[in-house]
């Protein structure tokens, strides 16, 4: 008995010895690719321009010294491009910390399918990556290093992940979500749009896509409304006017629900109910507030928002896209699986939208 125990112990130790070998490279022999960019190339329709932003590790993150390297490679496929980039750098490329993949606008208007498929297929790239559309090109966006950046390549990710800034204009999307919507029948994908402004990045628009290419980029105002419809608790300001004076509300909680109603006349209706609550942040009127006045202001906010949302929904409807997944909801609430999508395709172009908004202003801070 004792002998066999020893033998087993020796065997186990032998395994530990083996573990450190086999092509494993230490961390100081690795280059971490933090984001990937894809652009069209002038060389021809089959060639793309791939950019890889790599973080160069520094000893002390507090020193404020941030270094990164962006290597660009033109190639017919991304797999080939990576192998070519490997011979341009001295260390092993590691995609384990790759957090963003950016598609240049003209590339995204063509088709992102093949790259998206590659990111899901490749084993060391996580599904928690953030995709985005870059204007003017992915390369230009990757090369920007905002002065606020503390860890190389981190600023972009902090912004689109909303870990850092939390803006109502940023539409947070993950690769798995993009992947799901690209395949789902009845729901279309969206991506945030990242533009450059000097040496600062600006993410304030959303790109609506059909299954694989960008079709429409919404303006910041519509993007905020879109986010409010898509997610809960968007922290934003809302503006309305009363007697020519501007009123600003700070929204703390928001919740949008909808119901699809089949009309008997073949015309359906999508009924949205949006609940908002928050505080009054800015008021340019001189008079003191009263309860009746507050009710009127709430009503004004509700009407304003209802009008804007209806306009946005109609605008989306005209493009034929379905980023909010109405089609999927319709399919999920109807049991005639074979015909439901044909029904929906007939219904959607002429569906009516009614938007009911309930605004509640809880307080107006320290002043009455």
């Amino acid at each position: 008995m004792r002998h066999s125990t020893y033998r087993v112990m020796i065997l186990l130790c032998a395994f530990i010895l083996l573990l450190s070998g086999c092509g494993f490279r230490d961390i100081d022999l690795r280059l971490f690719v933090v984001s990937i960019g894809v652009d069209v190339s002038e060389k021809g329709p089959n060639v793309n321009r791939y950019s890889f932003k790599m973080a160069i590790p520094t000893g002390d993150p507090k020193s404020g010294e941030v270094k990164s390297l962006t290597v660009t490679q033109e190639s017919e496929s991304i797999a080939e491009a990576i192998r070519q980039v490997k011979s341009k750098v001295d260390k092993e490329l590691d995609f384990g910390h790759c957090r963003a993949v950016l598609y240049g606008e003209s590339y995204a208007r063509r088709s992102i399918r093949s790259i998206q498929d590659w990111t899901v297929r490749r084993r060391d790239i996580q599904l928690l990556m953030f995709p985005g559309v870059a204007i003017p090109t992915a390369e230009a966006v990757l090369k920007i290093q905002p002065p606020t950046e503390r860890v190389a390549g981190n600023a972009l990710v902090l912004a689109i992940s909303e870990d850092g800034t939390e803006s109502p204009f940023i539409t947070r999307t993950f690769a798995f979500d993009l992947n799901r919507k690209m395949r789902e029948i009845g729901e279309d994908p969206v991506m945030p749009v990242i533009t450059t402004e000097g040496n600062v990045l600006n993410i304030d628009r959303v790109a609506l896509m059909d299954k694989e290419r960008v079709k429409l980029i919404l303006n910041p105002e519509d993007t905020r409304l879109y986010n409010m419809l898509d997610r809960r608790d968007i922290r934003t300001n809302l503006r309305t006017r009363r007697d020519g004076e501007i009123l600003e509300m700070n929204v703390e909680r928001s919740k949008a629900k909808y119901k699809i109603i089949d009309g008997s006349d073949g015309q359906g209706e999508i009924r949205y109910t949006i609940r908002l609550s928050g505080t009054l942040e800015e008021k340019q009127m001189e008079e003191q507030m009263t309860l009746e006045e507050l009710k009127k202001i709430e009503e004004a906010f509700s009407q304003e928002l209802s009008k804007d949302v209806t306009r946005l929904l109609k605008k989306i409807q005209e493009t034929g896209l379905d980023p909010l997944g109405f089609g999927l909801r319709y399919a999920g609430t109807h049991w005639n699986n074979d015909t439901e999508m044909q029904d929906w395709e007939r219904l959607y172009p002429q569906i009516k939208f009614t938007v009911k908004v309930r605004t509640k202003i809880k307080s107006n801070f320290f002043k009455r």
């Binding site: 086999c22 979500d177 109807h334 699986n337």
Partner: protein
Amino acid sequence: MSGVVRNKYFYYLFLLNASINLINFVPGIMLDDRFDGGMMSILLSIPIGAGLLYLFAKLIAKFPGEGLPEILYSTLPGWLAAPMLIVAAAVWYFSSVITLISFTDITDRYINPDIATYLILGGFIVVVGLAARLDSESILYALEMVLYMAVPLIVYMSWRALSSPFFSYDSVRQIITYTWNPPTYQTMAAATYVFTGYINMVVFNRVFHKFRMRHIILIIMMSIATLAVSMLGPIGFLGTIGAGEHEYPAFAAMDSLRIRYFIIERMIYVFYFVYMTLSLLNSIVHWHVSKELIIGVFGFKGSPSPKGDKKRRRAEWWIIGVFSLIVLVISGAINQYMLKDMAIVFVDSRFAGEFVLIGTLIYAAVKRKRRKKA
């Protein structure tokens, strides 16, 4: 014969099998049929699986302290009992082969692509092979402890998944509207696997002396929850269409989860370690059961004890050696499509085998009763 354990260990055996169900080959097989009767098969599998489990528990309670080898050899002729035991052991061992190989593959994909596959598998085999030799009671105690650590984490992860804002309930609803399609045998066989933990009792019954089945409703509720999460969880994250495109749907779904305020960011690492422990434990239990069934054929009676005779010990080492060798050979020979086919073959034959097992036990029970009367 060694000591006696309490009834709760039966539930642990069930729970181990049910929780392993979230990640093994079962979700993949069920998701293949998500548009053609997958949901209906799951609904039907609940009464069938629970019924089989209940029947088995009632039957095995009539043979306190006896394992399947003892029961078969005392009621059936030897030429029939031996092949039955060998086939049962082979089928049960086969499932651990699939678990081990697919988990090696998962480790290779998600954790470290740089380590050679044989090393990972070798490490797993050392753990499983050594632990499978322990006596039945020790394995049950280890099982209890691991489950106490793993189950809270599984509940936490499931809750996180279902409450994520990116979990698409509309996709889930869409799949639910496909419920009324006719069920398929394959998916039903896969879904009943949740209940199959009871089969381990063919050996572990040796340490149960006053076994009585109670609270079957708990088992049913647990399996409904497991089946719902394993089928609908991946659909919520990967979509109605996308869920069918992943090799390991549960892992892809967990890769979609983020823990923001924690040391590690990706939920998949927590998930991986929980399920590595459970997979290994499940393989240990399966190897133990298969080994005991085969040893039963060679006429070594009773459960193993530390002071067991030398011959028995040598036989154990041989069996475990052969088991390890088979895993290594199969792992080198197959690719991911064949692995899935193997899983389907296992699931189908196991489902049929369960009926045979229960039929045999009914026959044995009747015969035993008559003999007592006579």
